[in-house]
Symmetry: C2
């Protein structure tokens, strides 16, 4: 394998053989191909693209760079979900215990927040005591015993992806659909899952701002999953406004707890978090063989929520992983979870838009996220929105409740700027659910 | 200066400001931008291009990464020539003393052979004792005293180019016209020249196989030279067959000596080496202010050759740089310069083609060139062609005379394969001179 020849051919628009990609990634992981050659290859791949076969080969090469868990000796069809990330996306915290409560084992390995979007691990760690750093042995045993486990990526899983991701981050080669897809799928396929549901987000608060790009990413992800024999479904969901009412680690965890407790949000509005969660749960329960269709799966999930079985599984999960279960019964009692400010509406009218990117970035500045990989996050920091898109608002009314350990990091003007208030009511916001890709065709 | 932002913008097709390119190259030269970021930038520049302003900014940044010689206190308009390289191109050895003999100072810094084309330094070093490793002080003093100096690049000149060239070589980013042009011009402009003539070669034995690419390279080179205020002329010359009769270091030097001695080649054929040399000399003598037009410059050069003044200057140059001048009077007397084989024509007919690439690669295998940067070259190794394109030939007649220290490295079949022999005579070969670019327009 001559790396210069592979770089040159990709540069000139050729399609590489799977074995060539496998050799390149193996040599890079061993350190036999230096970062500067991989950087040139990544830029050539970014600009000239990788087709589905190449992306699949890249995924497999990264997957097999480390340990691939084998959970086949455990009962049940193991199903996981991956979201491409958005502002206010606390769905995993609800979904994992909910689907497990329906009898489908959920082995979930998640990431931390980077950029304007949050990460599941940071939200779990906002529960005092919750331990996401399990060994692979603990992961297997917990999944077998209680049917759900949520942890962070270990050093054994897809080391090539970690090395490549760090390089892409500093060489302007992040926003490539096949490179993103291979990175996501190599980690997910290493978990030992049998099937996968993807939540691909589109809009201003998402990684993919354009719906066409989000659709292309969903198709690539589903294509890779199916080509390695794992049933995979992709849902396309809207991220043109923050999902739900909370943004920030503990605020989002508290919102997830409320939904798991089957408490209706104030005002009786349609709960968009619940809408997305149920759609994903329906797919997972169907893929897991417990329901005969996604629609039947949604009914199963609704029953698990309403009966309290989902909350019970959640309590069991948190307790097993060392979390303080007292806060699950009374989220407001969590130490430090008292508001420090209310941000008021600057005008009367209707909330026409809430810019998720602006709000996500303001939450990072407040301490909820990281600007560098090793930044500490403030688990408390975040916003709770008192108004959603379409709400009437009076000047001086509280728009946003602020939580933070360090009030000096609050950028009130940025939060206000995220809200567009108009005199006329805006059209009713569309459903969060835009489309569903089953590997062959899109449906609504 | 944020390197990721510059990489990303070039990746997305933006044009960078001169100051941004200057900052990037300065940071790379200091080691503040790592190789992997520069590799990603180079691949983005390769695929999305650099316009003339960007290429000029890159040239200036590389030029100012090291010492820029100032020869303005020396009398005369200092003019140099650069060739993009071909097989059998010994023109510099004749041109430098010839133009200097006409009163135009020639400060020439050259390179070594790499790949299938030779390098001027290797040819000079084939003269026993010739020293190309001068200090910058020696370079100035010799130019002032005898009007001509030929040496290798020193560590002080364009260090950014050396670092970038080494990186391009291992990242598949060599064959980019603006990157090639910036590399050439940064080194040439550091020499302290006032004007420059470029010999851009096109055809199978050249770096640019396609005439359109060679024209584009000539335009880019001339554009950069003129934009930094140095009068620059580009000649486009043909490299579809080896230039002249000799390929290899000493064989080429011996051929150059013969031309400097004003000896007509056997058979009375038009000497293509002389044709190209005179065309370049005419331009240099005109740019140097000694003739009023290139055509008048050619007449001046012819007179210098015929009168023996050019050969006298050559002897003075070789002697000053420590070379053995005895071999200039009797090239065949050079130690080791005896043929080891004759390669015979496999068929009768006419020589229709001589493949310069095949012959160049066979000469490298024979020891005349390098496959790795630190290979030693065999100064003796090479070929002398007894037939040129259009010559009639009888089966069994000597086609090529072989010189080498290690006969086991001779690939007879490859040498024969370089010759295409046909039954009918081919059309007369066209002139080596294809075009001339003055910065505004092409002329023949």
């Amino acid at each position: 394998m001559n790396p210069v020849s592979l770089i040159t051919r990709k540069r000139d628009g050729a399609t590489l053989a799977a074995s060539e990609i496998a050799d390149l990634i193996a040599a890079y992981t061993r350190g036999d191909v230096p970062d500067y050659q991989m950087a040139a290859f990544l830029m050539a791949a970014f600009l000239n693209g990788l087709d589905t076969e190449e992306a699949t080969a890249l995924t497999k090469a990264m997957l097999h760079s480390g340990e691939v868990l084998d959970l086949s000796d455990l009962a049940g069809i193991k199903v996981d979900k991956h979201s491409t990330g958005g502002v206010g996306d606390k769905v995993s915290l609800i979904l994992a215990p909910l689907v497990a409560a329906c009898g489908v084992p959920v082995p979930m390995i998640s990431g931390r927040g980077l950029g304007h979007t949050g990460g599941t691990l940071d939200k779990l760690e906002a529960i005092p005591g919750f331990n996401v750093n399990l060994s692979i042995g603990d992961y297997r045993r917990q999944l077998e015993r209680i049917g759900v486990v949520m942890m962070g990526q270990t050093a054994e899983i897809a080391p090539a992806d970690r090395k490549l991701y760090a390089l892409r981050d500093v060489t302007g080669t992040v926003e490539s659909i096949p490179l993103i897809a291979a990175s996501i799928m190599s980690k997910k396929l290493a978990e030992g899952i049998d099937a996968l549901v993807l939540d691909v987000k589109s809009g201003r608060g998402a990684f993919m701002k354009e719906e066409a790009d989000a659709r292309k990413l969903a198709e690539t992800l589903v294509g890779i999953g199916q080509s390695v024999g794992k049933p995979t479904i992709g849902l396309l969901t809207d991220m043109s406004a923050p999902l739900g009412r909370a943004v920030g680690n503990w605020p989002e965890t508290a919102e997830a707890i409320q939904i798991l407790r089957n408490e209706t949000p104030a005002g009786g509005a349609v709960d968009d978090v619940l809408e997305v969660t149920l759609a994903l749960a329906g797919e997972m329960i169907c893929l897991g063989g417990v329901a005969s269709s996604p629609e039947a799966g949604i009914q199963t999930a609704k029953h698990a929520l309403e009966s309290g079985l989902a909350f019970e599984k959640w309590v069991e999960l948190v307790e097993t992983q060392g979390g303080d279960i007292a806060v699950l019964d009374d989220p407001e009692a969590r130490v430090g979870a008292q508001p420090i400010a209310e941000i008021l509406a600057p005008a009367s009218g209707y909330v026409a838009e809430i810019d998720p990117l602006e709000l996500g970035l303001a939450s990072v500045r407040l301490g909820a996220g990281r600007t560098k990989k090793d930044d500490e996050v403030d688990p408390i920091a975040g916003f709770v929105l008192n108004k959603s898109v379409g709400s009437p608002v009076e000047a001086g009314e509280p728009l946003v409740t602020v939580f933070a350990s360090d009030p000096s990091r609050l950028d009130t003007e940025a939060v206000q700027r995220a809200f567009t208030i108009t005199r006329e009511p805006p059209p009713a916001p569309p459903s969060r659910l835009i489309g569903r890709f089953d590997g062959v065709k899109w449906s609504a």
